[in-house]
């Protein structure tokens, strides 16, 4: 069945592309987890928030306009200008850094030394809070982002595969760009962590808070830095997902998909996040194609990733690349 095989190949390729996007969100988790031991459930909502902010700034929306209108009876909606994409991205990044500062200052500084599960629940609260703020700020209607990324079918791949296999693959240009950006992002992050002073300090904090503190690393600064980096990754992920399927609430559910990715790859490993993302992306698309759609009634993508992670974890609780979990009494 060469035709079926070609279909399967196409599904695999698309799965890889989707996996890259999962990995992008998962990266943000890993960054924060490594440096502060916080499992940041709000990462997905941060991506949503970043995308909303970006879309709002590009459109020149007045922040909190709905609330202002409701309270003061005014009727303001737009500033009347459209910001260029590059400037808007910069402004959004400033917002994300401000957010990182606020989160560190107001929330997690007071929770230092708490159990991980308490921190996790705090991030769930943060996720709700941010979601509400994002909606209040920019309204809850579906927005589209266009920062000039190419979209649509890649004709070169379509032609090539059609000539060699007799069946043209449908692969979105956006996915290809996303993969390239994700790869660049990982390289930049790894370089940053390995070769810069702040990166080294970040790794020191990840290794041992107290030891890092004793050699003069400012924990507060590093944590704000890490949250800002996570905000940056969230922004990139938000742009990708936002361009692909519009900025809407379901974006924050992507974060839930990133969780099994993390469990598969291990919470502490950047390569793990990438590999885990690819496995989940390909796995769920192939499973849906081979078993889900023909035999189980479809929509298995909703739960396949979690089940895979669950079964995988039973055999290897620390994930593929995670550090071995050692427990002491």
């Amino acid at each position: 069945m060469p035709e079926q095989l070609a279909f399967a190949l196409e599904v695999t390729a698309n799965g890889l592309m989707a996996g890259v996007l999962y990995a992008l969100v998962a990266l943000g988790f890993v960054l924060i987890y490594k440096a502060s031991g916080i499992f940041n459930y709000a990462q997905g909502v941060m991506a949503l928030f970043a995308a909303l902010t970006l879309a709002g700034i590009i459109d020149g929306q007045v922040p909190f306009s709905h609330l202002i209108n409701a309270v003061f009876g005014t009727d303001v909606h737009y500033f009347g200008w459209n910001a260029p994409a590059f400037l808007a991205i910069l402004l959004t990044m400033v917002v994300m850094i401000g957010l990182a500062y606020a989160v560190q200052r107001l929330v997690f500084r007071h929770l230092v030394g708490q159990e991980p599960i308490i921190l996790f629940m705090a991030t769930i609260g943060l996720a709700y809070f941010l979601e509400g703020v994002g909606d209040l700020m920019w309204g809850s209607d579906i927005k589209s982002i266009d920062v000039g990324l190419p979209q649509g079918i890649n004709t070169w791949i379509d032609d090539t595969t059609f000539n060699s296999l007799g069946y043209g693959f449908f692969i979105d240009n956006l996915d290809i760009v996303a993969s390239i950006i994700a790869a660049l992002l990982v390289i930049i992050l790894v370089m940053f962590a390995q070769y810069t002073k702040q990166g080294r300090a970040m790794r020191a904090v990840a290794d041992d808070h107290q030891a890092a503190l004793s050699v003069g690393v400012s924990l507060n600064f590093i944590w704000i830095l890490v949250w800002s980096l996570a905000g940056f990754v969230a922004l990139v992920a938000g742009i990708m997902w936002g361009t692909k399927s519009g900025v809407q609430f379901s974006l924050s559910l992507i974060a839930l998909k990133a969780l099994p990715v993390l469990m598969l790859g291990g919470f502490t490993s950047i390569p793990g996040a990438i590999v885990g993302g690819l496995i989940i992306g390909v796995g769920e698309k192939l499973f849906e194609f081979l078993i889900g759609a023909p035999f189980l009634g479809g929509a298995t993508e909703n739960w396949f990733a979690y089940m895979l992670a669950l079964i995988f974890l039973v055999f290897r609780p620390q994930g593929l690349f995670g550090e071995k979990i050692i427990e002491r009494v």
Partner: protein, 358 residues
């Protein structure tokens, strides 16, 4: 002064180990029970029952169940919505298959079925811990919702994919279906709430509860002093899912009447119940009630203030609600990690010494 234990002398061990050893507490408890059973049913109407009392009672059961798992046994679960769905669909299948069996038995059976499902999804907890487990329970959440959505047998091949509760009576009084009386549904749910709270309270202060708490505080240490982690964790999953299943069954059969699984029992429900026990107090039965009451009252209060008084659009109020709930979670985790229950304890201590604090 207001709250005192002077004059309370226990002369036997059972007296000393009762749930409310202080007379004041005991009378207050009787008073609350009396009000709930005898007085409230005469004064409630459909609006009060459907917007406040039924959700409060049913969420209280779910919160007690989740509190046993999270607060007492320390196993964080995000699968509450999925387990409630199991209870609801079990109840639906049982109601339509056995029309003559009493609803009490059917609801309890739904609880048992949910307990079984809970044990199956609890099995990985022996290997997976902490938030790894929390994420693993998401598998239960998404898989179960998908299952009830996709397999027509569960919704009896109805065209809409919904399930709707047929009319059933209890001692000749209708408690499900479109023609129910407010007080009847209220009392039916109240019965389950009182029973659940009683059972949960006594389980958690017995040997089983102490084992759960040992596991929660440190599972390896607990294992070394002779607590069997397999039994402790699985019983916690079973008991917790039992209560959650009951609440799911009541939620469907008595409260809503018709259910579309993805909408009603989605991931949001899991978070809602988790928030209830965080705000109410982890590891406290009273906290489950307080949290449930708080999160049921909050949207109603916000709606009255925001929409009815200030005339704001409903969507803004809904977003504000997210902000407030999220903010409250953070505030509680920072300022009072033991929730409303701890505030209540502090208040009691203050009242005990008032007006002479030293």
């Amino acid at each position: 002064m207001f709250y005192r234990e002077a004059g309370d002398f226990s002369t036997s061990y059972p007296e000393d180990s009762q749930t409310f050893p202080i007379k004041f507490d005991r009378y207050r408890y009787y008073l609350v029970l009396f009000t709930a059973i005898v007085i409230i049913p005469f004064f409630i109407n459909d609006y009060w029952v459907n917007s406040l009392f039924l959700p409060f009672l049913i969420y209280a059961i779910a919160a007690i169940g989740l509190n046993i798992l999270v607060g007492y046994c320390g196993q964080v679960s995000l699968g509450t919505g999925g387990f409630m769905a199991v209870g609801a669909y079990a109840c639906y299948k049982l109601m339509t298959s056995f029309p003559d069996v009493s609803m009490v038995i059917l609801v309890l059976l739904s609880g048992l079925i949910t307990a079984l499902v809970g044990v199956i999804f609890g099995l990985p907890s022996l290997r997976i811990k902490g938030f790894y487990l929390a994420v693993a329970t998401l598998a239960a959440q998404f898989f179960l919702v998908w299952l009830f959505n996709r397999v027509p047998w569960f919704y009896n091949y109805s065209a809409s994919g919904q399930i709707s509760a047929p009319e059933r009576t209890f001692f000749g009084i209708e408690i499900s279906g479109p023609n129910t009386q407010a007080w009847a549904t209220y009392l039916f749910c109240l019965m389950f709430v009182i029973a659940s709270a009683y059972v949960a309270r006594n389980l958690t202060r017995g040997s089983m509860g102490r084992k759960w708490m040992a596991i929660r505080d440190m599972d390896i240490a607990a294992e070394i002093i002779g607590v069997n982690p397999l039994r402790a964790k699985l019983t916690a999953f079973a008991v917790s899912s039992f209560f959650i299943g009951i609440s799911g069954a009541l939620f469907f059969a008595i409260y809503l009447g018709a259910v579309e699984v993805g909408e009603v029992f989605g991931i949001q429900k899991s978070f809602l119940v988790l928030f209830m026990i965080i705000i109410g107090g982890l590891g406290s039965i009273f906290g489950s009630f307080a949290g449930a009451a708080f999160l049921v009252l909050l949207p109603v209060a916000l709606k009255i203030v925001g929409v009815d008084w200030l005339g704001w659009p409903t969507d803004i109020v809904a977003h504000l609600q997210l902000v407030i709930v999220g903010g409250l979670i953070i505030v509680f985790l920072i300022a009072e990690p033991h929730g409303l229950a701890q505030l209540w304890r502090v208040a009691k201590e203050k009242l005990r010494l008032w007006p002479f604090p030293h």
